[in-house]
C-alpha cells in the first residue's frame, strides 16, 4: 500500500531509481569498508571525481536530450586539459581556461556541424572524432606529459579552477553546482530548453512548428564540448599534469551516468540531477574499489559488473512502477 503510493512519483521522475541505488550503495560501502570509504577526505575525493565527470555528463545529457549522442567527450576532455596545462605555464590560468573552453566548444561545433550537415548518425561521427582528437592529444604530447611548473601553481584564478579546496571540497564542485543551476533554468524555464526537448521528442513535430532543429542540435553539441573542455581544465587544475591518454574511457562513464540517471537514449527525456547522481554513483564505486584494495587489473571489470547490476535494478524499479 505504502510502496504503491510511490509508483506515480517513480513514473514521473525517472531519476528516482538512481537516487535509491545511490542511497543503497552508500550504506553498503560505508558498512563494509571499515571507515576507509566513508571519511571526509575520501568523500572530498569522490566529490572532485563527481565534479569533472558530472560536468561531462551534463553536456552529454543535453545532446541525448536532442536524440543524438556524443561519445567523443573523453577526447574533448583530454584536449581541454592539455590546452589548459600548455597555456597556464605561460599566461594567467583564467586565460588558459578560456582557451581550453573554446577548444572544447570548437570540437563540439565540429561534431555538431558534421552531424547536422552530413546527416550521418552521431554515434558514427563522434566515434570518429573520439579517435581523431585522442590521436591529436597523443601526437601533441609525444608520449610525455604536460604539466604546470610548481612556481606557477599560485594565484586566485589557479585555485578557483580546480587547483585548491574550499570548505573541504575541490573548487570544481562549486563550478558543477553553478553549471547545474544554469542548465536547469535553461532547460525548464527558457525557450531553448523547450525546443531542445521537443527535438528529442519528435524531430518532425518540432520542425513542423518552426523549430530550427539543426541549430538546436548544433547548440547542444557546442555546449557538450564546452563543458567537456571545462571539465578537463578543472581536472588538469587539480592534478597539475596530463598526458595524451587523459580522459580515456570517460566518455563511457559520462554516457553511463546519463542512462543510469534516467536520460532516455532515444531523446526527449533527460534529468540533469539524475545524470549527476549517476556520476556520483560511478565515482563512489571507483573509490570503493580503490579503498578496499581491489587489484587495478580487476577494476574496470568490477566497475562494469556493478554498472550492469545498477542499470538492471533501475529498469526493474521502473517496470514495477509502470505496473498497475
Amino acid at each position: 500500500m505504502g510502496l504503491s503510493a510511490a509508483k506515480p512519483l517513480i513514473r514521473r521522475h525517472a531519476e528516482i531509481g538512481i537516487f535509491l541505488i545511490g542511497a543503497v550503495l552508500i550504506v553498503i560501502f560505508a558498512s563494509t569498508s571499515e571507515g576507509r570509504w566513508a571519511n571526509l577526505y575520501n568523500i572530498g575525493t569522490i566529490m572532485q571525481m563527481t565534479a569533472t565527470l558530472g560536468l561531462m555528463s551534463l553536456g552529454v545529457a543535453l545532446v541525448i536530450g536532442t536524440g543524438e549522442i556524443d561519445i567523443s567527450v573523453g577526447s574533448t576532455f583530454g584536449m581541454g586539459a592539455l590546452t589548459y596545462l600548455w597555456l597556464a605555464a605561460h599566461v594567467d590560468p583564467s586565460i588558459a581556461a578560456l582557451a581550453a573552453i573554446v577548444v572544447g566548444a570548437a570540437i563540439g561545433f565540429f561534431n555538431g556541424l558534421l552531424v547536422t550537415w552530413t546527416r550521418t548518425p552521431s554515434l558514427i561521427i563522434t566515434l570518429g572524432t573520439l579517435m581523431i582528437f585522442r590521436g591529436i592529444a597523443i601526437a601533441l604530447t609525444e608520449g610525455f606529459s604536460f604539466s604546470i611548473p610548481y612556481a606557477a601553481r599560485k594565484g586566485w584564478s589557479y585555485f578557483l579552477l580546480g587547483g585548491d579546496v574550499f570548505l573541504g571540497f575541490n573548487t570544481a564542485l562549486y563550478w558543477l553546482i553553478a553549471v547545474l543551476v544554469v542548465l536547469m533554468v535553461m532547460l525548464k524555464a527558457m525557450p531553448f530548453g523547450n525546443r531542445l526537448l521537443a527535438v528529442g521528442g519528435s524531430v518532425e513535430s518540432a520542425h513542423s512548428r518552426g523549430v530550427r532543429v539543426e541549430r538546436i542540435k548544433l547548440s547542444a553539441f557546442v555546449l557538450c564540448g564546452l563543458l567537456a573542455g571545462f571539465a578537463g581544465t578543472l581536472e588538469a587544475g587539480k592534478l597539475g599534469f596530463a598526458d595524451g591518454s587523459m580522459g580515456r574511457l570517460m566518455e563511457l562513464q559520462a554516457i553511463a551516468s546519463c542512462v543510469l540517471g534516467g536520460c532516455l537514449l532515444a531523446g526527449g527525456r533527460i534529468s540533469l540531477p539524475g545524470a549527476l547522481m549517476g556520476a556520483f554513483v560511478l565515482s563512489s564505486i571507483q573509490s570503493y574499489l580503490v579503498v578496499t584494495g581491489v587489484q587495478p587489473q580487476w577494476f574496470v571489470l568490477i566497475l562494469g559488473v556493478i554498472v550492469v547490476l545498477a542499470a538492471y535494478g533501475d529498469k526493474s524499479l521502473r517496470q514495477w512502477a509502470l505496473r498497475k
Binding site: 524555464a189 523547450n194 521537443a198 520542425h207
Partner: protein, 258 residues
C-alpha cells in the same frame, strides 16, 4: 468574399523524393476567404502539396507565391511567420511535452528578467487551458499534462485549438476530423466555415468527398501527384466528383475550368 488576386499561387510545382515523383507539375490558386477541399486517394499527393505550402518540404522545381511575392526559402518557421497555420495529420505534437509547452512550441511567450528571456508560464497555462476547454478536453486534463496522456481525439483537439488560436491568414487542415466523435466533427466543420467567413483561406484535406462538398467553395482533386480536377462545388455534385476520383481524373477534361 474572395479576392481576385490569389493569396497562394502554386505554379508548375514538382517534388521528387529520390526516384519517386511525388508532385507532378501542379498549378493551383488559393484565394483569401475561400474554403477549398483538397481530395484524393491515399498517395495522391495532397499532404505532400500542403507540406510544401507550410514549409516542411522544398519543391524540386516550380514556384510558390504568397500574397504576390515569390517564396524563396521554405521552412515552417517562415510559413508560420507569414500567417499559415497547419493542423498536420501525423505530426505537430511532441508526446514528451505538456499541452501548454506544445501549444506554444516555436513561439513561446516570454517574460524578460534582467533582459534574459524566460518562458511566461502564466500566459502559456492560462491561454492553452482556455482553448482546450473550448475543444472539449476532459476537466481532469490540465495544461501541464503531457500530451502522451491524451487520446487520439484529444490530441487532435489540441492541434485544432492551437491553429484556431493562432489563426492569421491561412488555416490548412489535414484530415482534421480523424479520431473525432460525430459532435466534435460537426464542431470542426462549423469552425472551418467560420474561419472562411472571417476572410481566411481554409484548405481542408479529406478522403470524404461528401463531407467536404457541403462545406467547400471549390474542390481540388489530386491523383498520383497530379492535379486532375479543380471545380467549384456549385458546378459539380459530390457524386460527379467521386466519379472523377474513381476514374483517376480521366473525366476531368470536359469538366475542368468551370
Amino acid at each position: 468574399m474572395t479576392n481576385n488576386n490569389p493569396l497562394i499561387q502554386v505554379k508548375n510545382l514538382d517534388l521528387h523524393f529520390g526516384a519517386f515523383h511525388a508532385l507532378k507539375n501542379v498549378s493551383v490558386d488559393f484565394h483569401a476567404g475561400e474554403l477549398i477541399g483538397l481530395v484524393g486517394d491515399n498517395g495522391a499527393g495532397k499532404t505532400t502539396l500542403i507540406r510544401v505550402l507550410c514549409g516542411i518540404y522544398t519543391p524540386s522545381s516550380g514556384e510558390v507565391f504568397f500574397d504576390g511575392r515569390k517564396v524563396e526559402k521554405f521552412h515552417p518557421k517562415l510559413a508560420i511567420d507569414q500567417g499559415i497555420e497547419t493542423i498536420q495529420q501525423s505530426v505537430g505534437l511532441c508526446d514528451n511535452l505538456s499541452i501548454a509547452r506544445n501549444f506554444y512550441l516555436g513561439r513561446e511567450p516570454l517574460k524578460r528578467i534582467l533582459g534574459i528571456p524566460f518562458l511566461d508560464f502564466g500566459t502559456m497555462r492560462e491561454k492553452s487551458s482556455r482553448v482546450i476547454r473550448q475543444f472539449g478536453l476532459r476537466e481532469n486534463v490540465s495544461a501541464d499534462d503531457e500530451v502522451e496522456r491524451l487520446s487520439g481525439g484529444e490530441r487532435q483537439s489540441v492541434k485544432i485549438g492551437r491553429a484556431v488560436e493562432f489563426k492569421n491568414r491561412v488555416v490548412i487542415m489535414d484530415e482534421p476530423t480523424n479520431h473525432l466523435s460525430v459532435r466534435e466533427r460537426e464542431h470542426v466543420n462549423e469552425l472551418a466555415v467560420q474561419l472562411k467567413e472571417q476572410g481566411l483561406l481554409v484548405i481542408y484535406i479529406t478522403h470524404d468527398i461528401f463531407q467536404v462538398h457541403k462545406l467547400a467553395d471549390r474542390i481540388v482533386i489530386m491523383e498520383n501527384g497530379e492535379k486532375v480536377a479543380d471545380a467549384s462545388t456549385d458546378s459539380m455534385t459530390a457524386e460527379e466528383l467521386e466519379e472523377v476520383i474513381r476514374q483517376g481524373g480521366r473525366v476531368v477534361e470536359k469538366r475542368e475550368a468551370v
